[in-house]
């Protein structure tokens, strides 16, 4: 009750114009966003506080995926699951939907996006599906999220997108896979797919990092950035037989570093990384595999797997302070370091793919 009271109090102050511009610090909570499915089969977006209580729940028309948090204001954009065409802008104080945007004709969202450093622009990964071209949609966040531009993503099938800290350099995971909404998620170009990491600033591709040719079927899908601009990336193997690695890290101007793991641990992930995070000190990468039911941690310094934990249907992952939090389709959510296969909280929803941190603390 107390929390609700505070939220209503803040909302009231806002309505009365007593607080000129709320910031994340004013909100206090929530600290995470996650899409979810409820027991009655409907889809929602949840705001989750540090005590892992759900602070708000917003209905979504279809299944959600990831979200993008505004860098300074308590505002976030939640995206539909691929090949969805809508995104909703949420006030994270009140949990109220402020606006809704739709992808332009002939485009669909991939489910990820990010804001510019000053929060004035929103960038979304999109598919120009007739041309089979990856795009970054550019939206004016200060003008009702008007569509103002679109840029080449530097590859096919852009999925995750992040911004390097303290800059407006975007990094895009071009998964390499061409799909068309008319054929659902059928992959149309596996023999020729060529994933990459593309760095883009102001519409210009500044650098492209690629994988060795024999790994061209390893789709780079999810990203985590560190304070020094390190980019950890998680992959999804589209080839047959064992995969060489599912995790790598890159820094602009340097070669890609691929992480190693023994064959059995790697195999346990079933060729699939669903989410990736980098610890706040940049020393640990954690990746989740709902298919394998494992979270695996890699030591960045050593370049190798350091720990593997079994958690059924685990997928969401986010860093809060010194801890890595994960969430699962079973409804479990909690920090990793508590040990054991059971997480701290069991909620009455199915947590979807991504856990999005929304505090800048």
């Amino acid at each position: 009750m107390a929390r609700t009271g505070r939220r209503q109090f803040l909302g009231g102050l806002l309505a009365a114009g007593l607080i000129p511009k709320p910031t994340w610090a004013d909100v206090g909570s929530p600290v995470f966003l996650s899409a979810a499915a409820t027991p009655d089969g409907s889809y929602v977006l949840c705001g989750i506080d540090a005590a892992l209580d759900v602070r708000f729940q917003i209905p979504l028309p279809t299944r959600g995926h990831a979200a993008a948090a505004h860098p300074s204001q308590p505002e976030a954009v939640a995206f539909a699951r691929r090949p969805g065409t809508f995104a909703i802008i949420i006030d994270c104080i009140t949990g109220v939907e402020k606006a809704r945007i739709d992808s332009p004709m002939g485009r669909h969202f991939y489910g990820h996006g990010t804001f510019s450093s000053d929060g004035s622009l929103l960038f979304t990964t999109e598919n120009d599906y007739e041309a089979g071209r990856g795009l970054i949609g550019v939206w004016d966040a200060q003008n009702g999220f008007a569509r103002i531009d679109e840029w080449d993503s530097g590859g096919v099938g852009p999925h995750d997108i992040k911004r390097l800290p303290g800059t407006d350099m975007l990094v895009v995971a071009n998964g390499g896979i061409y799909t068309h909404p008319e054929t659902g998620r059928t992959k149309l170009n596996i023999p020729t797919m060529a994933p990459n990491l593309a760095y883009i600033e102001d519409g210009t591709v500044a650098e492209i990092a690629s994988l060795p040719a024999d790994m061209h079927k390893n789709s780079i899908r999810h990203l985590a950035v560190g304070p020094e601009g390190q980019v950890a990336f998680g992959m999804q193997w589209q080839g047959d037989g064992p995969v060489a690695t599912l995790v790598g890290i890159h820094q602009m101007g340097q070669p890609v570093r691929l992480m190693t793991a023994n064959a059995n641990d790697l195999r346990a992930m079933q060729g699939y990384v669903g989410s990736i995070v980098l610890s706040s000190d940049g020393h640990t990468i954690a990746v989740t595999s709902p298919r394998g039911g494992f979270v695996q941690e890699y030591s960045v310094g050593v370049g190798a797997l350091s720990k593997s934990s079994a958690i059924p249907d685990v997928c969401g992952a986010a860093v809060l302070g010194q801890s890595i939090f994960v969430s699962a389709g079973t409804g479990e959510i909690g920090p990793l370091n508590t040990g054991g296969p059971t997480l701290q909280r069991q909620m009455n929803v199915q947590w979807d793919n991504h856990l999005i941190p929304i505090s800048t603390a």
Binding site: H180, T183, D240, G274, P290, C315, G329
Partner: protein, 336 residues
């Protein structure tokens, strides 16, 4: 406590080890090997026929092509192991070809009179889009392409493509017989498959992906959207084979699904009933190349057919999957 644990394990995996081995052996010997055997034989016959008569109007050549293509479609869901080495499956079947790479590449080879068209061995190095059954369909049935270039070159190209198909099909069969069948039948800790359960999961995945492909691609492409149907994106419409492929794939997937579910009579019967329904709906359509997708009433019937296949997918995912130890989690099934 020990007894409790044992009971729990048995409850979670209702199929016993012996039954698992029998199921795998049955699928390898009665489902997989005969399909690749037929593919190799009909492809060899196609290559020989083309060497003797490469005229695109030749009934013998068209019949040989049809038989070999049938054999491929009936095996096309078996996408693991030998079919994936060197992208062999794509070398046999580059479809869907959303960017029109197949006709473009073939036209260029003919226009340039590229010497590669005379060597099946070298031809394996050309763009994968210009190889296989869909390239052959353009060479045999596409009016624009049959008028490009020199007639002798056209003939040579047909002979080369069919020889390449035969070589690829023979290599797949050879790998299955000399190596991969044993990997499935005798899983071991250091092998490709560590347990019978892993083998069954691979076979399950192949069933689920095959159903998905037939629904989303074989039917999804021509259906397009209500406002923008695309009858000429149907598979094999030039040779009149679109509905035939849906029928062949349903028959093959039905066979695999029944073999995978033969230890659970209830699931097995429901699978059979649901396949029968889809096959009956397809027959009722009586629309060989799905031209009906463009007219509202006939389109509805194609949509109903697709929905019936999607209900098989749901049955397979929700009921058959768990009996084979496949996790049906909210995220594990999502794939993104």
């Amino acid at each position: 406590m020990k007894r409790f644990l044992l009971t729990a394990v048995l409850a979670a995996t209702p199929i016993t080890a012996n039954a698992q081995t029998a199921t795998i052996d049955d699928i390898v010997n009665a489902h997989i090997l005969p399909r690749f055997q037929t593919l190799a034989e009909t492809s060899a016959h196609l290559a020989t026929t083309a060497r003797n008569d490469c005229s695109i109007t030749s009934q013998t050549l068209q019949a040989a092509y049809s038989d070999a293509f049938d054999a491929w479609v009936s095996a096309s869901h078996l996408r693991f192991g030998p079919t994936e080495v060197d992208d062999r499956a794509f070398a046999l079947a580059f479809w869907p070809d959303s960017r029109g790479a197949t006709p473009r590449t073939l036209a260029k080879l003919l226009t340039d009179q590229d010497p590669v068209i005379a060597s099946a061995e070298d031809y394996a190095q050309v763009s994968i889009a210009a190889r296989g059954f869909y390239a052959m369909e353009f060479l045999l049935y596409d009016e624009a392409l049959s008028n490009i270039g020199d007639a002798d070159d056209h003939c040579t190209l047909i002979q080369t493509v069919t020889t390449d198909i035969a070589t690829t099909s023979a290599a797949i069969l050879d790998d299955w017989k000399t190596d991969y069948a044993a990997r499935l039948s005798s899983p071991d800790a250091s092998g490709t498959y560590r347990s019978e359960e892993e083998v069954l999961q691979e076979l399950f995945k192949t069933l689920a992906t095959g159903l998905q492909f037939t629904s989303e691609t074989r039917l999804g492409r021509p259906l397009g959207t209500f406002d923008r149907p695309h009858p000429t994106r149907a598979e094999g419409w030039r040779s009149g084979r679109s509905a035939r492929h849906v029928g062949l794939s349903l028959a093959a997937l039905n066979d695999l699904a029944l073999r995978l579910s033969n230890d659970d009579l209830d699931i097995s019967e429901r699978i059979e009933t649901s396949f029968e329904r889809s096959i009956a709906l397809l027959a009722e359509l009586n629309d060989p190349i799905f031209t009906g997708v463009a007219a509202p009433q006939s389109r509805l019937k194609v949509e109903v057919l697709r929905q019936s296949i999607d209900s098989i997918r749901a049955l397979v995912r929700d009921e058959l999957g768990p009996t084979l130890g496949v996790a049906a989690g909210f995220n594990s099934l999502d794939g993104d």
